[in-house]
């Protein structure tokens, strides 16, 4: 007798809401806070309906004060609560950077485990929705170089809920990046009940033997599109959605590269200092002798994420990925 899992067809942003709702229901200590998360339900509606279900002391509008409310959330987490903080756009996290860097990420280490910060910082991020300047920054790498914090980035509704639940349950702070461009771009069956997707594990979204493509967030569909085009040319790609950016899924990276020997890394962040270089570093450590060609990068440039009239130029396209695949194939 099989028990059918009840599911709903949700977009990524709805799955995020569902993840928060699930945890708000389960634990009285879970709180949601940030700018406009209350009656407005968030500028992307990610917290829609949560305040009316859980009340103003569980889902709290804060002052326009990223350092203030992130810092306060640290103080709450240290004292037994599990705050889920929303940064309205990742490009507005900078004022909270000191709080995250010198406190959220270090308190466990500083106190030898006596205090800890089970907090999630959620933030929509990335370009492609014609938002005003600063709203489209893609700065994962500023957190993957920050010991003591995990960085998670789902690309699908199912993963969004499962990873968010896992992040809220994690005993340590997690930066949870939500690709804005993917918020409503597709729907998927998402279980109504609680479930988790493991932090630190990537996912193979297409199977192939010739080239490995590593991507995350809104770049995953770009990678898939390119891989599909290449299939027609008889080249098959192993497309990996990394899903967690710290710690990276070393085993999956190594396994894929050891199979294909050829790698394309895809991200919308600036090339220099991006997480891409870190993937390459893992390949160096694990799969040096398997490499048949230099790694090709398709990334944002070393320029500020531009005003939106230029963002189609800035953002990697499947076309550029196809060219990169051809390059590693023809090396």
């Amino acid at each position: 007798m099989s028990t059918a899992v009840k599911t709903n067809t949700l977009t990524l942003v709805q799955a995020v809401t569902d993840g928060m709702r699930t945890m708000l229901r389960e634990h009285d200590d879970v709180l949601v806070l940030g700018e406009d998360v209350g009656v407005n339900g968030g500028v992307f509606r990610a917290t829609d309906g949560l305040q009316s279900e859980f009340g103003e002391t569980r889902v709290m509008d804060t002052p326009l004060s990223e350092a203030g409310f992130t810092g306060a959330a640290i103080g709450m987490a240290v004292n037994g609560l599990r705050p889920v903080v929303e940064i309205q756009f990742l490009g507005f996290v900078y004022p909270a950077y000191e709080q995250i860097m010198t406190h959220a990420s270090r308190i466990r280490a500083r106190t030898m485990g006596h205090y800890s910060v089970p907090m999630v910082i959620r933030a929509p991020y990335g370009a492609g929705v014609r938002a005003p300047e600063i709203h489209s920054d893609s700065i994962e790498a500023l957190f993957t170089h920050m010991p003591g914090i995990k960085v998670v980035c789902p690309s699908s509704p199912y993963d969004a809920k499962g990873l968010l639940v896992a992040s809220i349950e994690d005993p340590d702070p997690v930066i949870f990046l939500e690709p804005m461009k993917s918020y409503r771009s597709s729907r998927e069956e998402v279980p109504e009940d609680k479930y988790t997707v493991k932090i630190g594990k990537g996912k193979r979204v297409m199977e192939g033997d010739d080239v490995s493509i590593f991507a995350w967030g809104a770049m995953v569909p770009v990678a898939e599109k390119a891989a599909k085009e290449m299939t027609e040319q008889g080249v098959t790609c192993d497309v990996i959605d990394l899903r967690t950016l710290y710690p990276l899924d070393k085993d999956l990276i190594a396994e894929s590269v050891q199979k294909t020997g050829r790698t394309v890394i895809l991200h919308e962040a600036h090339r220099t200092g991006g997480v891409g270089s870190e993937i390459q570093s893992i390949i160096n450590d694990t799969s040096f002798l398997y490499q048949k060609a230099p790694v090709e990068y398709v990334t944002g440039f070393d320029t500020p994420v531009p005003f939106f009239a230029y963002e189609d130029h800035y953002l990697p396209t499947s076309n550029r990925v196809v060219q990169a695949i051809q390059k590693v194939i023809n090396f």
Partner: protein, 356 residues
């Protein structure tokens, strides 16, 4: 605290003069010029909303309701002064002489808006909230150091007062005794968050007490009160008497931006009520009528001028050549680094090999 900072008015909501203080300065010409600006910026604002609806520009931040605060303050500036606006202050930048075409281009995702007209010191709109306050202190200090009498005006909203940069900017300015006027438009909302959740204090003016800085609370919909109070603060700045804070109490009638739905968080009837009683333009009209300045022919003609100025700007904006991807690479450094040069070359090569 509210008693310590009574709301200053020159004309009340019926257009009656309620204070004698500035009577002698109010000439017919001033009234007409200011009225013209009010009408001009409101027309522009409404036009932008319709352009956004038609998909001819992107997300847009309207200011309707706040024209008195923006025109009154910007009109008090002298040519060589500096302006630090936010994303909602293009009513002020227009008044100070910014190019309409460029402002439109901003909302269409183009950098050109950030380039002010020759000789005008207008900084790009502050998007990260409150970051402009420290800049304004530094720019003003530089004027002081050069020994000029130029001053700086810096705009920000009620929500902005919660950021650390508000505090650090105010403190820096007061310690440096920099010639800057911090001009707050308190429209009671930061997107959906009402001021009662933003702060416990009942006024923003009182926040100047932390810095021993003069401050005043003014009816932001009384363009003349705003104008005269800004002038006073600018005069103090020019004379070396340091920075000031002005709280202009106002209201935005519409949405935070075109991406926002205000009915989610407030009763829009309030906007209607405020529109009927206390609208900054209506008020000036009532004053003009009472003083025999309401010249319909002049108004008709002025509205036509304004309207064709705006239409022309739209035409110019739409005639702009397409966004040039070279611009992405060419302004990061004065001289591009090899990283940018290589990336640019590779990008253009990829375009040739198969389009974007």
């Amino acid at each position: 605290m509210e008693n310590q900072f009574p709301m200053k008015q020159w004309i009340d909501e019926e257009g009656n003069v309620v204070s004698e203080e500035f009577q002698k300065n109010v000439t017919e010409d001033l009234v007409k010029q200011i009225y013209r600006q009010l009408v001009r910026i409101r027309s522009f604002d409404r036009k932008c909303i319709s352009l956004q609806r038609q998909g001819r520009i992107g997300t847009y931040a309207p200011f309707e309701g706040q024209e008195g605060a923006q025109v009154g303050s910007a009109y008090a500036l002298k040519d060589n002064d500096w302006m630090y606006p936010t994303y909602r202050d293009h009513g002020a930048t227009m008044t100070f002489g910014h190019s309409l075409k460029n402002i439109l281009a901003y909302w269409n995702g183009r950098n050109e808006a950030c380039v002010p007209p020759e000789g005008r010191h207008i900084f790009p709109p502050a998007v990260p909230i409150a970051t402009q306050l420290p800049h304004a202190a530094g720019t003003a200090f530089a004027e002081k150091r050069k020994g000029t009498e130029n001053a700086v005006i810096c705009y920000f909203g009620d929500g902005a007062t919660s950021e650390g940069d508000f505090h650090e900017g105010m403190n820096m300015a007061s310690v440096l005794q920099a010639p800057v006027v911090y001009f707050n438009q308190n429209n009671s909302f930061a997107i959906s968050v009402p001021i009662s959740k933003q702060m416990r204090s009942k006024t923003i003016a009182q926040k100047a007490l932390s810095y021993d800085m003069p401050s005043v609370r003014v009816d932001g919909n009384d363009v003349f009160a705003v104008y005269f109070e800004t002038q006073k603060a600018l005069d103090r700045a020019r004379k070396g008497e340091g920075p000031s804070l002005i709280e202009a109490v106002t209201w935005r009638y519409g949405a935070h931006t075109t991406a926002d739905d205000p009915t989610k968080y407030r009763d829009q009837k309030e906007s209607d009520t405020r529109r009927e009683k206390g609208d900054p333009i209506l008020r000036v009209e009532l004053y003009m009528k009472k003083h025999g300045l309401y010249d319909e022919a002049w108004i008709e003609k002025m509205k036509e001028e304004v309207s064709s100025e705006i239409d022309q700007a739209i035409e110019e904006m739409e005639a702009m050549p397409k966004a040039n991807p070279e611009d992405l690479f060419d302004y990061v450094f004065e001289k591009p680094t090899w990283t940018i040069e290589e990336q640019k070359k590779a990008y253009f090569a990829s375009l040739e090999r198969g389009g974007m």
